[in-house]
């Protein structure tokens, strides 16, 4: 397949980015239309590849196509949503949006490592401008953190890419380059010690962009890792790295979900959940088996769907109340029934309840870890189950605080859910949560088997069985939904007595985030939060101490360079210039002398050999 057709989506994205700049004067409505049309065209051009004869693609090209379709779909939906979310936005937003999605498509579609790196950098830079978009103090700090951490990651990635030629020479080299690629891909996807940029960044960008960051940008890191690990290094080349990766996956998973539990800022909470879900994907891929890769990819697909859905749903709340605090929400289910439905579907998916898609992928991940059979992987399986339970606990808090409960949310801006701009993205994503959960065998056969080859050890019957019983569960969900519609309209209130005294409503009420604060005092987890508070888990904060030292050193180097090298070099060059000037003294006989000297020199060299 010619590279030009494969690269067409990237080209198209950049074209629309440029078009938005050219047409900066047109009215907002037309630009909305232009941008939605543009991202739809990009999506079509990605899907268009599927109509070719797929057998001429290699396995890895199919993986790229899978990622490209995922990226273009999510960007299309986020583009629709952002027309609703930020209606007064200027052309820079749209232009950057296309640049960003085009760069991500470039990362997954590029067929050489250097072009992958170039698009990677482009992605970093264009996403950097989104962080500065809202121009608050918080955003400025986040952007500095982001550019330093991901920039360092890019340098590591470049080092790894350049080193791929030398990995056969020496086992030490191989370890070194694997390490640098691991860091490079890990910073972007947000694995354990390197995720400190992630929560700050996700909450500073506009919400549709948070959905893109969490839904697809972190996946490009996974893509790069899969590509390097499975094509250049091959799984099982070193048990040390395999074990280390499983351990890092476990820590990422657990620390992400534990930190998410105590958050009261909805975007920060979702960001920490993002870390934890990346931990799942990583844990699964780290097993190195094909079933592990299947679990990882399936969970990646699911995660990008439900996490973007969660962010988009949270965006509705944020737009309505102008606040990210869970305390400011409450009893929105009657005002926002559709958001409530889709948000709860996403919450159940991320917590891994059957028959939603999160369940299927987590099941496959557990199966992969069990099949691996080492002590570490069994431990990983247990931790993943634990993480799943904690995720559910966390999302019960979110749903309780925001949609259910006693109404105390203040509505700052009246919004309507009936717009096509919001029903399409939320509805489509929620529908996909269900489809991917109910028909796992179909999804595995149609999407993942072409990429990975048939996986014989996968017990798909059991998943089908559970999914089947899950239909019933959906029915129950819908019943709850319609019931809650009626229920929330008239809240039953009962008086509370303590010792015969009626206590006021403010005292008797509690919200979920206060309740979850008791976690700080719980034995066992308490130490973890203490360590986190000291900033020992934050690699950025730790490295900040070294920045001071390095700046002092570089200052000294600069002074040395100026005094010793620049000034002395300048003196030397001017000295040479003075010497050379004696040649050009304006005397014609001298010039003729030099011409003859040159002629003799040429003749001398020509007869040198004889």
């Amino acid at each position: 397949m010619s590279i030009k057709i494969l690269f067409f989506p990237v080209f198209l994205s950049f074209l629309f980015s440029f078009l938005n700049i050219l047409l900066w004067k047109i009215r907002r409505r037309f630009r909305s239309f232009l941008s939605i049309f543009g991202s739809f065209l990009v999506l079509i051009s990605c899907i268009y590849i599927l109509f070719f004869n797929l057998s001429c693609f290699t396995q890895w090209e199919k993986l790229s196509q899978f990622f490209a379709i995922l990226i273009s779909t999510i960007s299309f939906l986020c583009m629709i949503y952002s027309q609703w979310y930020i209606p007064f936005v200027n052309f820079i937003y749209d232009s950057l949006f296309f640049l960003f999605s085009g760069a991500m498509l470039g990362v997954v579609l590029s067929n050489s490592l250097i072009s992958l790196y170039i698009f990677w950098e482009l992605m970093t830079i264009s996403s950097f401008f989104f962080i500065l978009y809202e121009n608050t103090e918080e955003a400025k700090n986040a952007s500095i953190k982001y550019i330093i951490m991901t920039g360092t990651g890019s340098i590591f990635l470049l080092f790894g890419i350049l080193g791929t030629n030398f990995i056969e020479k020496n086992i030490l080299w191989k370890h070194l380059f694997f390490f640098s690629i691991f860091i490079g891909a890990g910073v972007k996807s947000g694995i354990f010690p390197l995720y400190s940029w992630l929560p700050d960044t996700y909450l500073s960008v506009p919400t549709p962009i948070s959905a893109m960051f969490s839904g697809i940008m972190s996946k490009t890191g996974i893509y790069a890792f899969i590509k390097f690990y499975f094509t250049i290094f091959y799984p099982e080349w070193s048990t040390f790295w395999e074990n280390l990766m499983i351990i890092i996956g476990m820590i990422t998973l657990l620390s992400g979900v534990l930190l998410a539990l105590i958050q009261h800022d909805i975007k920060r909470l979702l960001a920490y959940h993002s870390v934890s879900q990346i931990g799942y994907i990583f844990l699964s891929i780290a097993t190195g088996t094909s079933i592990g890769l299947l679990g990882g990819l399936y969970h990646l697909l699911n995660h990008s769907i439900f996490k973007s859905l969660l962010f988009l749903g949270a965006g509705v709340l944020i737009k309505m109340t102008h606040s990210r605090e869970l305390e400011d929400y409450g009893n929105f289910s009657s005002i926002l029934p559709f958001t409530f439905l889709t948000f709860s579907i996403a919450s159940f998916s991320i917590s891994g309840l059957p028959p939603f898609n999160g369940f299927v992928s987590k099941w496959i991940i557990c199966q992969a870890l069990l099949e691996k059979g080492t002590t570490l992987s069994i431990l990983g399986m247990i931790i993943s189950l634990l993480g799943s339970a904690l995720t559910l606990a966390s999302f019960i808090k979110v749903i309780n605080d925001s949609f259910l409960g006693v109404g105390k949310g203040q509505i700052k801006e009246k919004i309507s859910e009936k717009s096509f701009l919001i029903i399409t993205p939320l509805g489509f994503l929620a529908l996909n949560c269900l489809i991917l959960g109910i028909f796992p065998s179909l999804v595995i056969n149609k999407i993942f088997n072409p990429i990975l080859g048939t996986i014989s050890t996968l017990n798909i019957k059991l998943i089908n069985l559970i999914s089947f019983w899950g239909y019933l569960f959906i029915l129950i969900i819908f019943l709850i939904y319609f019931y809650s519609l009626r229920l929330t309209k008239k809240i039953k209130e009962k008086r509370v007595f303590i010792g015969g005294e009626v206590i006021s409503r403010e005292l008797s009420d509690f919200d979920g985030s206060h309740f979850y604060k008791t976690l700080y005092e719980t034995e066992g987890i308490k130490e973890f939060y203490e360590i986190e508070k000291k900033g020992l888990l934050d690699s950025y904060k730790i490295s900040e101490k070294f920045f001071n030292l390095s700046s002092r050193i570089s200052n000294k180097i600069e002074i040395f360079m100026r005094d010793e090298i620049y000034l002395k070099g300048r003196k030397f060059i001017l000295f040479l210039t003075e010497k050379f000037r004696t040649f050009q003294n304006g005397l014609l006989p001298r010039y003729i002398f030099w011409v003859i000297a040159g002629l003799i020199f040429i003749m001398e060299i020509l007869v040198w050999r004889y």
């Binding site: 210039t577 030099w594 040159g598 002629l599």
Partner: protein, 489 residues
């Protein structure tokens, strides 16, 4: 194929016609010259199809066979020179329509301009030593006249020095040609190469030495360059653009390309000479350019330095070396012509080319400053612009042949180039001046610069990949072709 000879005929015709009308109507003279140069550009573009279809086109003037008659030939290598030359001549002519109003007799200028163009075109199409000499003399004598066009004392002195040194070079070449006629009895290049295959080396080295010295003098490589700074800095600016951007390359570099790679192929020593001369010119030119007080003189020294790159790359040889030489020829022609036109526009407004007397041009002449910056950045080898790609190819060629020291010197000289151009930019473009009104500038002065700078801007990213197939053909000719093959057929 009559199209081969059409540029020469057109320019000679133009010189003749303008000589008839220039006294009556000076304006018409300029437009006649411009239209003839555009016509010749069109004829060269039409010629391109035939050249790349047939590999080379040979034309026997008057139907006389080799070795009696005059033979003309265009192949991919000479076509690239021909195309660059003829596409830039209209721009320079367009620029001079307004610029030459400064001088008393602008009509005369177009006659000499047409003659120099005819001479340069003639060198590129001849396959005959004596023909090359004749056209070289036409072009050279026209250039002596053009340098002295202002008739001030310094200009006449510069022209005198240039004339004397130029005649020494021409004499060296004509002695070489005479020796060839004496040794082999033929002046046709193909015929000579065919015969020379059977001659022994010691019969030919003296001729080769004379040729290299003679053409190096025309190219202005290090010990032969002394005429160039005076001549190029004192000539009218469009003439400087023509001389520095095209003349030294077409009259000097192109014959060197041919002599080293196609005619005297049995002398590998000649490549060592070219590397030595190239390195010396690079170093000398860039060091001399550092603290010049006159901008045009600085550009002239920069030309010496950059032409050294071409010679060096030619001397290194191999695919990358030859490719680098051709690319650097094209991009340096574009950039240096742009810079001289640029300083010409400034000179037209302010009547000075001294660094001290020009200040704060950023506010006064914004378009001139933009185009000038593009030219300067290009010559210094800053990435998206033209000369970066050619310089990197030259450095690659040096590294491929394991000449690491040479690659290092190339980088250092490039840095020094950037250094003196930055000094220039800081002093004349971005310094503060009390007056900062935008000055009107003529459309005729501006448009050639804008076109050239667009070409430089797009060159590396857009053109180079697209014209690579033609460049490869030219490089193939330099690597494999000898004229003797024509005679064997």
């Amino acid at each position: 194929m009559n199209l081969i000879i059409s540029p020469v005929i057109l320019y000679l015709l133009s010189a003749f016609l303008i000589a008839l009308i220039w006294k009556e109507n000076e304006k018409l003279a300029g437009f006649a010259s411009l239209s003839f140069s555009i016509l010749s550009m069109i004829s060269v573009i039409l010629l391109g199809r035939f050249v790349f279809l047939n590999e080379r086109i040979i034309y026997f003037v008057g139907g006389w066979e080799v070795p009696i008659g005059i033979t003309l030939m265009v192949d991919s290598l000479s076509y690239i020179f021909l195309f660059t030359l003829n596409s830039m001549l209209p721009l320079i002519c367009w620029f001079s329509i307004t610029y030459m109003k400064k001088y008393t007799n602008p009509g005369l200028f177009y006659i000499v301009f047409s003659l120099i163009s005819a001479g340069m075109n003639g060198i590129l199409i001849s396959m005959d030593f004596f023909n090359i000499y004749v056209f070289l003399e036409i072009a050279s004598i026209a250039s002596y006249i053009l340098v002295a066009f202002g008739l001030r004392t310094e200009e006449i002195e510069a022209s005198l020095k240039y004339t004397i040194l130029g005649f020494i070079g021409s004499t060296l070449i004509i002695i070489g040609i005479g020796l060839i006629l004496g040794k082999t009895g033929t002046l046709n290049i193909a015929d000579f190469t065919y015969i020379a295959e059977n001659l022994r080396k010691h019969q030919l080295w003296f001729i080769l030495g004379l040729f290299i010295a003679g053409f190096s003098l025309k190219t202005a490589l290090f010990p032969f360059h002394f005429w160039l700074p005076d001549a190029h800095s004192l000539a009218p600016s469009p003439v400087s653009a023509l001389l520095s951007g095209l003349f030294i390359k077409v009259t000097g570099l192109y014959p060197l390309f041919r002599i080293i790679t196609n005619i005297f192929v049995m002398f590998p020593e000649s490549k060592i000479i070219l590397i030595g001369l190239g390195l010396a010119s690079m170093i000398f030119g860039s060091f001399m350019a550092i603290d010049q007080i006159d901008i045009k003189r600085m550009y002239a020294y920069s030309s010496i330095s950059q032409i050294g790159y071409c010679a060096l790359s030619l001397g290194i040889g191999g695919y990358w070396g030859y490719l680098g030489a051709i690319l650097h020829f094209i991009f340096h022609s574009l950039s240096k012509s742009l810079l001289f036109l640029n300083i010409g526009a400034i000179e037209y407004k302010y009547n000075t080319t001294k660094i001290e007397e020009l200040k704060g041009l950023e506010d006064k002449l914004p378009y001139v400053v933009t185009t000038g910056s593009i030219g300067m950045l290009s010559i210094s080898g800053i990435p998206p612009f033209g000369c970066f790609w050619s310089k990197i190819v030259i450095i690659i060629s040096a590294i491929k042949k394991h000449y690491y020291g040479i690659a290092f010197i190339c980088v250092i000289i490039s840095t020094i180039t950037l250094g003196y151009f930055l000094r220039l930019k800081r002093n004349i473009f971005y310094s503060k001046d009390d007056e900062s009104k935008t000055v009107e500038i003529s459309y005729n002065l501006l448009m050639p610069m804008v076109i050239l700078s667009i070409f430089i801007l797009l060159s590396g990213l857009v053109f180079t990949p697209n014209i690579k197939i033609y460049l490869d053909k030219a490089v193939y000719i330099m690597e494999n072709f000898t004229y003797a093959k024509i005679m064997e057929k």
